[in-house]
């Protein structure tokens, strides 16, 4: 014991003597001896005493100094002792773990699972809910949406926005924004940038100052007040200018116009809208009031609530409706806080449910390790009684046991945090497209603190179980008496059994959930979208209006580009559409059938539409069912044609051949002739049934921004270079975006179900492992407790097989009880899963049976080891053991 060495011997004596008495005695002894010496030398006692004192110096002061020094010495000693004892305890604990590698491995694994899973999920909650938004006073920020009869997420028109801003009484200010992608030319390949047109008030409302330079001035937000300035995001500034401040004042060529860089925003600001650059937006009161294109944000006045702002805005909207009934009929305004808008009540609830579930998981881990420790405490009661007999105090033994469990939990935490570090990138990837703010998921100090705090708490919690058992066990003579007697430590056996049954039930619940969600994900990945995604390359082009103002020029560009791409070796066919499948967009239009009386309200016909080139159907692999597809002949001056999907044919013309029929759409005097029927496709969500869809001729409905769809003979990625080259041979400054295999878009459509499945799988695997450990723990404990009984039975001639089957029955019985409970609860709760399931009934029998089989056989396996150990007990030893 090196650190304590110098104190070890004096400790026992010195410990209890107060410093004051120690010093008094020492000094008094000195004075007395000196006095005696003087008396022996012939002085009279009084003079001798005086001389001794004089010679000594200021007794009171020296006494005080010594007491002070002595007290400090004692404090240091106590501290040194405490640390040394802690060191001893920790070393002893580690030795204990090394001596029982099986126990240590199982316990550490259990804790690693519990702590790892909970830390990971806490990380998700941290990223989604806890990390502050990168804005000033985010609690006062709201989004304003238009509300119509059919949607409550509608945009605002420019005049409406200006009126909202002018007439409200609850907002400090409002700002508007509009998505506005631009192409950047100069310096490498042309690039398409996500850009946002914003009013000057936009930045002020968000309460964010630029990192460098300035944001837009008020006059830059007035119509005609000046375009030509741009604010950069931090990420774009780094990427394009290497973070150089000389970027300010430089010029960028965006979509054919030049812009002066006036400011750079701080990092993280773009995370919400994902824009690279911000351009001035100038809403005009003269714009069409029915043309809705603006997103609106607002900052509430201090003290104003979202509810008050909502009622204020409803009044404003009602007044506008009265004033402009034509455009604003049935049009109102909704106010949503940023927290609700960005995260959403549903996601928040899901994360909180996850946190609760993970808390339960952690409790399961605690219960299991507590059981393991209890099982071992039985085996260790002799060792502990020996230590008690050798003079270890009650507090010292408790401390030792708690230290052991905390050491255990810290080792578990180390593995658990490693687990979280490994799991986090997987979850971030999986959730990237479907969970808000998940891109901020990292193991930061909050997550680490959580993991360590959770493990310490766990350690103390499960460490208390054996300590509690020691303290409350039956038998007289206090703790020491009980320990010396070697009495078996009896705990609340029933409580432990209940814990195990509950943890099995929970594992069953999670397994059923994982089975159902996993099953529907598998179904989903096997859904036939109605087209062949394999072997198709996509690319997205946006023709800048500056250089392609007329539709003829746009049409000419795409026709020539597709002709050249189709001629590339290895390309089978090439087509274009305004919206590629699963690219996240949709366009719809109401229509009427020619020769049919208009139907009543609410039954208005509506269909999604796509503008496509003739090659599109072949390139995508959509089969023709009847008639023909769009042809070269369907040009601008030819009769308008439409190709419809089977669902549309069935809905609009049930039992009738639709080819030759015609429809009318608003604001077009000429009818549209149905010329063909093609197969249904799913292009919004894999789990949604195909909707009524119609295809229009690109030459008749020309669109400046299109997706190219290129079917290749080989791997689609191999054609990417050639496609880019052909486009740039036509227009070297045109950005080519979203160059990727179509299959990637399709699999991204399954991202959210995959994320849900991953989370469920994570939980279920952890819960299953914990349940198995739990069953093992309790069966092993039972065997330890019943050593005498088992030994007796063996001595009386019981067959080992009988012992094995009895022990197995114990574990399997508990598991079966848990399974029945869990299946019951799962059955009752499964309907809540219905919304996220696809193609699998929430009560899918195969899943339930499978889970029951899995859990019971796992429990049987877990019981096998202790059962065989029991059957091999030496009866003589077992009977003598106590």
């Amino acid at each position: 014991m090196p650190p304590l060495g110098r104190f070890a011997r004096p400790l026992r004596r010195l410990w209890k003597i107060p410093v004051a008495r120690e010093v008094d005695a020492e000094l008094a002894f000195h004075l007395e001896m000196r006095t005696r010496e003087y008396i022996a030398g012939g002085m009279d006692p009084a003079a001798a005493r005086a001389e001794a004192t004089r010679r000594f110096g200021d007794v009171a002061e020296i006494n005080a100094t010594c007491q002070d020094l002595g007290r400090r010495r004692d404090d240091e000693m106590r501290r040194a002792q405490w640390i040394s004892e802690l060191g001893q305890d920790v070393r002893y604990a580690l030795r204990q773990l090394r001596a029982n590698p099986g126990f240590a491995a199982v316990a550490v694994l259990t804790l690693a699972l519990g702590i790892g899973a909970s830390t990971t999920i806490f990380g998700v909650a941290n990223a989604v809910l806890l990390r502050p938004l990168p804005f000033g006073e985010p609690a006062r920020l709201v989004r304003l949406f238009g509300v119509t009869a059919t949607t409550d997420q509608f945009s605002a028109s420019e005049p409406d926005y200006l009126d909202w801003r002018a007439q409200n009484r609850t907002f400090a200010d409002m700002g508007a924004f509009m998505m506005r992608n631009v192409s950047l030319v100069g310096g490498g390949e042309p690039e398409q940038l996500p850009a946002l047109g914003v009013t000057p008030s936009f930045f002020r409302v968000l309460g964010v100052r630029p990192l460098a330079g300035r944001v837009f001035a008020e006059e830059e937000g007035r119509p005609g007040g000046g375009d030509g300035v741009v604010v950069l995001s931090h990420g774009f500034w780094l990427r394009r200018f290497g973070g150089n401040h000389r970027a300010l004042g430089q010029t960028l060529s965006l979509s054919g116009a030049s812009y002066e860089v006036v400011g750079v925003m701080p990092p993280g600001f773009e995370s919400v809208w994902g824009a690279d650059v911000w351009l001035p937006l100038a809403p005009a009161p003269t714009s069409v009031r029915a043309d809705h294109g603006l997103g609106v944000i607002g900052r509430l006045r201090p003290g104003a609530t979202a509810a008050r702002a909502a009622s204020d805005m409803r009044d404003v909207a009602a007044q506008l409706t009265a004033q402009y009934p034509e455009s604003n009929k049935d049009y109102s305004v909704r106010v949503v806080t940023f927290a609700d808008w960005l995260i959403g009540a549903e996601l928040r609830a899901r994360v909180i449910v996850l946190l609760v579930a993970v808390g339960l998981l952690l409790l399961m881990a605690c219960a299991n390790v507590a059981n393991l420790l209890l099982a071992r405490a039985g085996a260790r009661s002799r060792e502990i009684s020996l230590r008690a007999a050798l003079g270890a105090g009650r507090g010292r033994i408790v401390r030792q046991l708690l230290t052991e469990s905390v050491v255990l939990s810290l080792v578990g935490a180390a593995f658990g945090v490693a687990f979280a570090v490994a799991a986090v990138p997987v979850l971030r990837e999986a959730g990237a497209d479907s969970v808000a703010r998940i891109n901020e998921l990292t193991v930061d100090w909050r997550v680490l603190t959580f993991g360590i705090a959770a493990s310490l708490l766990t350690g103390l919690l499960f460490g208390l179980a054996p300590v509690g058992a020691l303290m409350t066990g039956s038998g007289g003579g206090g703790l020491h008496g009980r320990l010396r007697s070697g009495a078996r430590i009896v705990g609340a056996g029933r409580l432990r059994a209940a814990l195990i049954v509950a943890s099995v039930a929970m594992a069953v619940l999670l397994l059923v959930g994982a089975g159902l969600v996993g099953g529907s994900w598998m179904k989903l990945t096997r859904v036939d979208p109605g087209f062949r995604a394999g072997g198709v390359l996509t690319a997205q082009l946006t023709l800048p209006r500056v250089r392609y103002p007329e539709v003829e020029r746009q049409e000419a560009f795409y026709t020539e580009a597709l002709r050249r791409i189709a001629a590339v070796p290895g390309v089978r066919s090439a087509g274009a559409t305004n919206i590629a499948p699963f690219s996240g967009g949709d366009t719809g239009i109401p229509f009427t059938v020619v020769g049919r009386a208009p139907t009543g309200e609410g039954e208005a016909l509506e269909a999604s539409w796509r503008s496509v080139t003739p090659g599109y159907f072949a390139a995508l692999g959509v089969p023709l069912r009847r008639g023909r597809v769009i042809a070269e002949a369907d040009g601008r001056r030819a009769p308008k044609v439409v190709v419809i999907s089977e669902t549309m044919a069935r809905r609009v013309w049930p039992g009738v051949d639709p080819v030759g029929q015609a429809i009318r759409v608003p604001r077009d005097t000429t009818p549209w002739m149905v010329v063909g029927v093609v197969g249904d496709i799913r292009d919004q969500a894999l789990q949604d049934e195909p909707v009524a869809l119609m295809y229009l001729s690109f030459a008749q409905v020309t669109w400046p921004s299109m997706w190219l769809v290129v079917r290749t003979a080989g791997e689609p990625g191999a054609a990417a270079g050639a496609v880019r080259r052909e486009i740039w041979s036509l227009d070297p400054t045109l950005p080519v975006a979203e160059v990727q295999p179509l299959s990637r878009l399709v699999s991204a459509a399954a991202a959210e179900p995959r994320f849900t499945m991953l989370i469920f799988a994570l939980f279920a695997a952890a819960a299953l492992a914990l349940a198995v450990v739990g069953v093992y723990g309790i069966v092993a404990y039972g065997v330890t407790q019943r050593r005498r009984e088992i030994g007796g039975r063996l001595a009386l001639g019981a067959r080992p097989r009988q012992i094995v089957s009895d022990t197995l029955r114990h574990g399997v019985g508990l598991a079966a009880l848990g399974a029945v409970l869990g299946l019951g609860v799962a059955y009752a709760l499964s309907r809540f899963l219905a919304t996220i399931l696809y193609g699998v009934a929430p009560t899918n029998a195969a899943t339930y049976v499978g889970v029951a089989v899995v859990i019971v056989s796992c429990a049987a396996l877990a019981s096998l080891a202790p059962a065989r150990r029991a059957s091999r007990l030496d009866p003589v030893q077992a009977l003598r053991s106590e």
Partner: protein, 109 residues
């Protein structure tokens, strides 16, 4: 006495360590030894011995235990630790160096 105490302050620790190097003894015995080996020439304020002892104990150079005095009284005994012994060696070496340097200055070579 005050003057010599000042002068001796740094050397007092060395003297104590030296004294204890011959075996454990109580505070009074330490005082007597210093008095004797210095033939009373090094007169110290005797009381200042005790704070010095407590300081040395905190530094870990001496340790204490309770034992019996010559007069059969329970007294606190001081004993040199291994660390104290090492310290003493260092200080003796320093002293030798210092006194030879002083000698050189005073007598020349």
């Amino acid at each position: 006495m005050a003057d010599s105490t000042e002068l001796l302050h740094g050397t007092l620790d060395t003297l104590i360590l030296r004294t204890l190097s011959w075996g454990p003894r109580h505070g009074y015995a330490v005082a007597r030894w210093i008095q004797e080996i210095s033939s009373d020439a090094l007169q110290i304020g005797e009381g200042s011995l005790y704070p010095a002892l407590y300081r040395l104990e905190r530094k870990g150079w001496v340790e204490t235990e309770w034992g019996l005095s010559e007069t059969n009284r329970e007294v606190k005994l001081y004993r040199l630790t291994a660390a104290g012994r090492a310290r003493l060696k260092v200080e003796l070496a320093q002293w030798r160096e210092f006194s030879s340097a002083v000698a050189k200055v005073l007598y020349g070579t």
